[in-house]
Amino acid sequence: MGALLVGTVACAIRLSQSRIVSCIAGVYIESIRSTPLLAQLYFFYFGLPSLGIMFSEEVTGIFALTLNSGAYMAEIIRAGIQSIPHGQIEAGIASGLNYFQRMRYIILPQALGVTILPLLGQSIVLVKDSSLLSLISIMELTRAGQMLTSERFMPAEGFLTTAAFYLIIYYILKGFSSWVQKRLIFREAY
């Protein structure tokens, strides 16, 4: 959810008229997209304390994951917004709507139709990426598998159970996504 918010804001900034501001958002998106999440995670985990900022592992992990996912979502939303015909925006300006009203009532509702499927895909990636949080000792699904391995020496049971849980989440999200897809097609045909 946080990622969606960051993504929308970053994307709005990226598309803004001001060249400098748009450039900053561009640097953020490009640098996140071309480095691995694990490096980013370590960057915040080892980096923030040296700046004197102490967060708990959970906060650091969620922070890194949000920033990471936000960049990808910004790109998806940007593609969605740019797919809307320019006439729509001009009509919005002509009707005297200001920037936020245009975004809120004209552009975003239309962009949603194009972006919803890639966004769901990204959330599947996000769930899988969250497994990396175990590496900075956050207690989640993968970590649970590791604990089982090291404490009771049962790697097979531990990791296969973990994999099964991830699969369940994956199939739920995938089912939801194909349901949305069907509804979208139906609406377009209608």
Binding site: P36, Y42, P49, T142
Partner: protein, 222 residues
């Protein structure tokens, strides 16, 4: 203090370069093997054999549905129980190849399906064999849809290769992790790691979006 740490970091640069080479070789090997296997699976999957199709489909779903971290743990920790003891490097390459093959398989299937079926029928009517149909009609046209996401997938795989650091392959991420134990300046150390990945991935991302633009132009011109 920053200056001192910076000098220390520069002195441990060889570790990073070695790590960079490791990252490049692990992901390079996996990409080559993964592309070949992925194309192979993709072609089979869009072919006729129903059992094979189901089998590959289930396998691809299984791999796409679980995190790579879990897969690498399964290969590295469970395989020894079955008597297959792997070094870290081959285990990493196998896991990454498998991952790459699954994602590429999906891309290839999408590309082949995007070719209008009339093309295939016309080829059959011209008396081309199954192999010739694939080689001269379907694949060349499918390549246009396949290429941009393929390069994008390469970037994802290179980034995923950072995960193999957890089983002790000394790649760039691992080099950063080892260095940060000595130099407690995480921003600097992992900033360097980030820059190294950036150097590899950024050109590829641009290549991918360039290809995408060029391929759509070709498509509209026809």
């Amino acid at each position: 203090m920053w200056g001192f740490y910076f000098n220390e970091l520069m002195r441990s640069l060889p570790i990073f370069l070695k790590g960079l080479w490791m990252t490049v070789s692990v992901s390079g090997l996996s990409l080559i093997a993964g592309t070949i296997i992925g194309f192979f699976w993709g072609i089979i999957r869009s072919g006729k054999g129903r059992i094979l199709r189901r089998l590959i489909g289930a396998w691809v779903d299984l791999i796409r549905g679980t995190p790579f971290l879990v897969q690498i743990f399964v290969i590295f920790f469970i395989f020894p129980e079955a008597g297959i003891q792997l070094e870290a490097f081959p285990a990493a390459v196998i896991a990454l190849t498998n991952l790459a093959a699954c994602f590429i398989c999906e891309i290839v299937v999408g590309g082949i399906q995007a070719v209008p079926s009339g093309q295939r029928e016309a080829a059959t009517a011209s008396g081309l064999s199954a192999y010739h149909r694939l080689r001269y009609v379907t694949l060349p046209q499918a390549m246009r849809t396949i290429l941009p996401p393929l390069v994008g997938q390469y970037v994802l795989i290179i980034k995923d290769s950072s995960i193999v650091s957890v089983i002790g392959v000394i790649d760039v991420t691992r080099a950063g992790w080892l260095t940060v134990q000595r130099i407690p300046e995480g921003i600097m150390v992992f900033g360097l790691v980030g820059i190294l990945y950036f150097i590899i991935c950024y050109p590829l991302i641009h290549l991918s979006s360039n290809l995408e633009k060029r391929m759509t132009v070709v498509a509209t011109r026809l």
